[in-house]
């Protein structure tokens, strides 16, 4: 059996030293009014992905998130497009992207003559940017030690906690042992597991961060009187949030947890990390935390994940921009029914056809193939769902205002 940590492929070296597995031009719109034009610019363009923020009033959290995506290792160049009267500034987004060494352009639709001329202008810019990064981005050898991999689960059923998430856990152990970074989130799906989770802390600092994140998640659920379980979860056989949490936490494998990161922050070192996407509890009484799977996936990508794993027992047809999504199901019936969308059948573990360790290794090999350029199924199908919302993290106290 060849050593996974020695397997290498060729990636893209960014000016900040980070390594990407794709070489993309990212189009960012700064208000819903510019959404149609931004998507029309990206339509039928190879290696051009689109994200954006719908609000007219700006939001520090959303700006940090978009800037983390603009400077993502898989992104080589940026075009930001605004309508012209919104608060969020496309010029500043382009400027920060440029400071990171990435070529970046911006324009306002109101100054470019309407829909058709803005789309034509945007297409000309992205084609120039794409040519530039294809020509000038240095290629670099990569191994698992250069990867940050995120994991989200959604559409969970009774198999997710038995096979889907444990398979990711087995892969995360291999990734961490190879020197890589593994990130999982959904602290609202760690409810009921406080002591179990704290016992996994790498050190006292991590333990305190985990305790704070757990307590905030529980306060959040109590305050909105909604726990992170859906009708489909119940129909699939899950009965309580505690039961779902145990299954969800299995994706974290067995290695020590190094600490907690917030949205738009990369892990502070190698190893296993938990991403806290729950809003601050002193501002607007939380707002919303994980409104859907796509929102969580975007948070994981903002942490620099070059690839995201998505575990679904009942089946799902989402994908993601910027970082390829790999779909894992612990339910072999779902795999067969939705094979056009599902990448990995972890249900073989339940059938006794495969050990968990072997499943983790097979998943690692798939991650390496996707990192080396093989498109995942959602990527091949053209799925690039994204969701960027108003949220408040790292805000100062209420009396100081909300612009931090």
């Amino acid at each position: 059996m060849s050593d996974l940590s020695a397997q290498s492929w060729t990636g893209y070296l960014r000016p900040d030293g980070r390594k990407g597995i794709r070489n993309l031009v990212l189009v960012i719109y700064t208000v819903e009014c510019a959404q149609h034009v931004a998507h029309a610019i990206g339509a039928n363009e190879e290696d051009v992905h689109v994200i954006g923020f719908p609000g007219c009033y700006d939001n520090a959290y959303a700006i940090r998130l978009m800037l983390a995506l603009a400077r993502h290792p898989n992104v080589g160049a940026v075009l930001s497009v605004g309508l012209g009267c919104e608060y969020t500034q496309p010029e500043k987004l382009a400027e920060v992207a440029r400071q990171s060494g990435r070529p970046a352009e911006w324009f306002f639709i109101q100054q470019s003559g309407g829909t058709k001329s803005s789309v034509a202008k945007g297409k000309e810019i992205v084609s120039k940017l794409r040519e530039e990064i294809r020509k000038s981005t240095p290629r670099v050898s990569m191994t698992l030690a250069d990867l940050t991999v995120g994991c989200e689960c959604g559409g969970s059923d009774g198999t997710s906690g038995l096979a889907g998430n444990p398979t990711v856990g087995a892969f995360f152990d291999l990734l961490v042992d190879a020197g890589g970074r593994a990130v999982f989130e959904e602290t609202v799906e760690m409810i009921g597991l406080r002591e179990h989770m704290l016992s996994r802390s790498a050190n006292a600092t991590a333990r305190q961060q985990l305790a704070d994140a757990y307590d905030k998640a529980e306060r959040y659920c109590r305050s909105v009187r909604q726990w992170s379980v859906s009708p489909g979860n119940f129909a699939g056989g899950l009965t309580t949030i505690e039961e779902k949490s145990l299954g969800a936490f299995a994706k974290g494998g067995t290695r020590p947890i190094q600490g907690v990161i917030r949205v738009a922050e990369p892990p502070r070192g190698p190893g296993l990390w938990i991403l806290d996407s729950v809003p601050d509890d002193h501002f607007m009484q939380f707002g919303y935390t994980n409104p859907n799977d796509t929102e969580g996936i975007m948070d994981l990508i903002s942490a620099g994940s070059q690839i995201v794993l998505f575990v679904t027992g009942r089946g799902s047809v989402i994908g993601s921009p910027i970082a390829p999504l790999i779909k894992v199901t612990g339910n072999s019936a779902t795999f067969r029914a939705m094979e056009e969308d599902m990448d990995f059948d972890a249900g073989r573990v339940l059938a006794g056809d495969l050990t968990l360790a072997r499943a983790g290794r097979e998943l690692a090999e798939m991650v390496i193939r996707v990192a080396a350029g093989e498109p995942s199924k959602p990527e091949r199908l053209g799925h690039r769902e994204y969701f960027i919302m108003y949220k408040h993290q790292n805000t100062p106290s209420l009396t100081e205002g909300c612009r931090a």
Partner: protein
């Protein structure tokens, strides 16, 4: 073929169905051995009781308490929203037992 269920930890008093089961014998795999006789049809992904569980007694899966019994649960019974409640989430007790659909927001659908 006899339907199977999966017991994660030896201390669990429930197991998860890997196949759809009708009333009758179900083979236990994972941490457990032997059979449990299902008292009713239980769908794949759902839980079967491996022991009699008294009201308010802990329901244990993954070796961890996942909630408490709200009524007496006989060995072989389907364990779900009708007889198991979260220690935290009071809304789940109001959901439709088969579809999981909410019933407490019915008044909004007008």
């Amino acid at each position: 073929m006899i339907p199977r269920c999966f017991q994660i930890q030896a201390s669990d008093n429930v197991a998860t169905l890997i196949d759809d089961a009708v009333a009758g014998a179900v083979q236990i795999s994972g941490a457990g051995r032997g059979d449990v006789v299902a008292l009713e049809a239980i769908s794949r992904g759902h839980k079967v009781a491996l022991a009699d569980i008294a009201p308010n007694e802990a329901v244990v899966k993954f070796g961890v308490r996942i909630g408490h019994a709200t009524q007496f649960i006989k060995r072989g019974a389907w364990v779900h929203l009708h007889n198991l409640a979260s220690d935290l989430d009071e809304r789940s007790g109001t959901l439709d037992i088969h579809s999981g659909a909410p019933t407490d927001t019915a008044s909004a659908y007008v």
